[in-house]
Symmetry: D3
Subunit: 289 residues, 6 copies
């Protein structure tokens, strides 16, 4: 039903189960008939973008392979308040034990996807500017959060320090200038990668262009400065802007003509989506034998 | 310098390093002299409560044991905008490689501590009500986030499903009523644990008291309802309130006389604290030999 | 068929398989037809209480998913000498390879359950005193051994250092007295936990009661001393006794009126249960293809 | 100070720490000054053979690298009741946190070493018979328990299913007889391994000798039967006896002239050694800074 | 369909998937319909011996349980150029994602099996000499490579440092001579192991025989020297030769009458077998739902 | 002394130690005085390029922190036959135990670096063509092997499936043509990545250029075909050639003017470098205490 989850994600899922369930669920053991079966619904309490139902399902399956999760909305789909996102069936004890861990993943991922869509929807209509994530992700969850950004309509930046060349101020200083840094990276980086360099003003921008950079990063510039840079680049390079971008400022920055705007808040400050798991129709099924 | 970090935290730190640095840092390799030494400062860009400097230090040490981190503010301390939280010294390449992963942990933990303090500070002066966390924590980070809540002046709820008995609506239904559920848990739970039960109204509250519950949870009640329950309990049980509590509503709820208010947002929706790592005074030290 | 096993248990199972089977079973490879199927019976050679058949089954399944284990006696059930506890069917080579590792878990867990029941059965009839375990468990097996104690009719003490507050002599000394220690713990511990304190005499007992302790631990007292303490407590607190309790002394201690007796030997010195796996009815089935 | 511990042992140590300390030690946090230093002594409460002090030290070091453990008796040494086995110094909080986990390993390993020596000492004086262990070890602890057997004066049997060829009844049946099984193993087993075969009587013994077996295993025979077999073998093969050997029966069996007696109880049923950790001389040292 | 793979192999498979697929397959995500199904054939491009199809299948299954691998040639079988080794069916995206990692294992293992057979086939007809591997294996792959040697018609040497006694020059020097070293090992080694000793000349050979060694290792001797040693041994011990043996020299060495020739190159320098995975008959199957 | 090794490398090192040393080194235990100290030299027996001395050192340190490894030649340096690459000092037993595992890593990595240099040295003088690796690496060792390629003077291709876009024949077919595939990837791939596409002839090459590909891969073309493609590209794109390139054919291919030649054999078929560890100057040092 779902795509592959990398081994590191399985490991994190096991850690999350271990930290909540590793010593057992005393309350459930003492109050729930182990043979009772039930079903429940995952319900959006506010509008959201779906991401991570496969992780929700995987947590449940790892707690008890008898639990079955049936998604109702595909990844990237938009849910209104009250929409059922998925149903889950199986032993009641297992549903109660898995619920919190599964939701801790799912609410966070929907939160990232939803915030991403909020940013994307602020862009002027037809605007080709990309909203991208950053490396400011939750420890252990980068793969999942990057995927949530795509589900929300955003794009990914480099996935790690090997997935792109990005020359920042400290690298420039150490290398002896933008030209030297860009040249070193063009000579030594794997050829599947572009060379991106952060510039702090027009002279640095021109130096970057001359040195053969493929992408420039305009960090913490005013919208006017950004617009001026875009004009100078004139389509020869890919232009990225970043630095404290908010839902209020993203439209102007996009209108300035940049190709991409990277937003750390997508992953480091997205509030959890508001989702409930409602257990119902409990039946005392025959023993699991 | 710091207290023990549990093995699971070390594992998560390694996962976080693996996901950012596991294939290497191409830009740093191509631009930074491996013998260059430098130092940097961790600076608060907005007011915050410190939590997780030991994790920051551990990430750095794992990337390169030669990096030394010297804290300036103890865990639980409050920093103003501009305050230096710690300094770090070592090979420049290692500082640049470790920075992002270390900050991803540290900014999140300071964020949790800071939001907790925000809640605590809303309490009426002298009010003994506890602000507590919940099990709605980031997968893999529960230990660290729980500690951050304490650093922020909050208290912990049960740490996992074995660290307390909490009978919720589904357990009550399955056990055949509050009295039956409480009795079963009193008989079977480890004696170091109290028995807490969620009640939805006065009759359930009275049933819980009669059955010998130690703690009652008032979920999603109005402040008036809560006050009425507190009055009935009259100090015989510990009273906890929960359900969508915000910075705006926490003071009224506390004033109603509950012993504790649990707030999921402390861990599931705290924005990352705004912290910069500023690298400076780079010197071309002699070779590391 | 069985309840969830936490991730740490799966990891230990894999370690146990690795240490016996990780380089292969040379004898079986050279003598057993890989297509031969067979079945075997797990037989109790002496009376025992069953615990850990799910672990036995999990080891087999991990060695070869084609092996099927069918339990005959539920966890907590009592077997007489000669009783069949379970049957297993599958490739003969896999049965031979899995047998020893699976039994190493199963015999130990039945041993713990059986010794627990021995203690419980020594209690005077109708006596409400609990027999509880301690933290003196086999490294890596705490979850399984705690469960075995329950299967044997015992109760669990705190599951780990976070699952209860237990103030011992060193804590008292460091905190500056029983009252100070109890007060600090009442103020700072998670509210789902009771506060337990070890006392060495009557004056300490009275101090503990006054300070608001929920549970007292009477360590290494004579039965007479214990009885005197129980009289003083008069039901106001939960009373636990511990210290070198044996099958010979447990009844008297219980008769003194304590609520619980904790016994380290349940987990640190239970002899392995005597169980055989008898392979039979080997048939040269058609190739597994 | 100590020999290498294999990676799997480090992993088990981390699991054991995780299961006791992974959520923190609430009592210690609330009562012990983190700057207080202290020292303690490991004391034998009954006579024992020492094994596993390096594991004790490793647990302490993993909890806090500042804890220093100084052994007083080498591995394999015998301690009388009251003897100090080692001292430990460091932060009091860390000593209290590490104590139980470290003792859980150490008491078990001393227990195995001590029981082994008990068996060895029952042998007739000058008797060359080996007391060996079996594969009936505690899951995850095989390396440590095997080492404890050596510390107790015993010998190891094959360490795992790849560390020796041992043809049992099922292998014989599947291979079509002892001769066929032995021949197959001689032809296919790695040449550094001997071929051992279990025999149930004289005719099988003769068949094993003819087929070129290097070792025979006499399982569950009477002492008289064993003596008869030894006489027939006449030094041509190595003779091992096994099967429910106890401290009461081991001397007779050895006197019958076997080369080795394997005893499962050494590892599956050794009671934990009785050892205390006594904390003393607590001083409020200056801050750890 | 296949035999058990030890836990360490599963761990290595996950590591290999993590290092190639852990951040996702961007190209496949952007170009392949997730619902498209297809099938492919594993084809030998040059003659080879098959080993590791189960690992190939396991990698595929771990990437996507819907992928089914059907072997056409059993382990140890010989394939001609153009032969189909196996077929695989499943989602096209999953086949493309798993292909490279699965082949990286499979090509290496077939390479080892094929080189082993090359050595075995150089032996004089009817020659009983064994070709054995060494401990010079690829980190993490020892189990798989040892198995591949068997598939290629070779034999295994000791599997690890515990799976045999092999006294080398440094051990002899430290122990004070061959006799002392052999005697110490005969006295202390587990009885399922033979004692092997490396000798550098005739006098050492005689000393080894006298001391009761079971096996001698002739390292880096000329064929003439080896023949002389074999003559002296006269069948009393097992004789192994080693040291830079190549396809050109193996026949002469075997003809000199040694029982085994160990060849490090089998595992440390076998070139990868030339195998292609050809994807075909792609169909746009209905959604996976 | 050395750069950071990623967590996955540490894990592999532990696995390699576990598989050789996890059950102990019986021979060394029985023959070597644990207090004896010694030193040894790593010597190149044939010319080679150095790579992986830090891994060699890490293995030794993990076996025994008292072992000190002092490199004599830096990574990427060339050694002649007889050159000393490093020295190691420490307990003799630890040196003997660590040697084989440490060499298994080191010989392989030097082998990769050496073969890479062999290819690079075949290039026409002054030729700017890159020799690059592929994803055909040893499971678990990709990071280390990629680094060895750089040490040998080569370049890296994409590090994993997320570190570059490479559209192959199957992707083209599924996407409905080269133009469609390139367009999809340009629209959806992270902007730090170039888009590379495999072409099988001139018309596909032109289509790729028109669609905006950044890199073209010419797979298995004749040198003449390659030269024709280079002429058409005329510097507008980066041109890579691949497919069964050998030391004999690499010069001609480079002369055809391609920007890069990727060679799978660098990592999948490099023979181990010939390196010895010679232990010497053993002294009976005073006890390690």
């Amino acid at each position: 039903m779902f795509e592959m989850l990398p081994p590191m994600v399985h490991t994190l899922i096991d850690s999350a189960i271990e930290e909540d369930l590793g010593r057992g669920d005393i309350t459930t053991r003492l109050t729930i008939d182990p043979n009772a079966k039930g079903s429940g619904r995952l319900v959006a309490k506010r509008p959201l973008v779906v991401s991570g139902l496969d992780v929700f399902a995987r947590v449940c399956e790892r707690v008890d392979p008898e639990v079955e999760v049936a998604p109702r909305i595909a990844a990237g789909g938009v849910a209104a308040a009250g929409d059922v996102l998925a149903t889950a069936r199986g032993p009641v004890a297992s549903l109660l034990m898995a619920e919190r861990v599964a939701l801790n993943f799912f609410q966070r991922l929907c939160g990232v996807a939803t915030l991403t869509r909020d940013f994307v929807e602020r862009l002027p209509e037809g605007c080709p500017t990309r909203i991208t994530d950053t490396r400011k992700t939750t420890p252990g969850m980068r793969y999942l959060e990057r995927r949530a950004v795509i589900h929300g309509g955003g794009h990914n930046h480099r996935l790690d320090l090997s997935g792109g060349v990005l020359i920042k101020e400290n690298h420039v200083a150490a290398a002896g200038g933008i030209a030297a840094a860009v040249t070193a990276c063009r000579a030594g980086a794997p050829h599947p990668l572009r060379v991106e360099v952060e510039v702090r003003g027009l002279s640095e921008l021109l130096e970057a262009i001359d040195a053969g950079a493929d992408v420039v990063l305009l960090d913490n510039m005013t919208t006017a400065q950004v617009a001026r840079c875009v004009q100078i680049v004139a389509g020869r390079l890919f232009v990225e802007a970043s630095g404290g971008v908010s839902l209020d400022t993203v439209a102007d920055l996009a209108a300035a003509g940049v190709d991409a705007i990277s937003v750390g808040a997508l992953t480091h400050s997205a509030p959890a989506a508001d989702i409930s798991f409602l257990l119902e129709s409990v039946t005392d099924a025959p023993p699991r034998s």
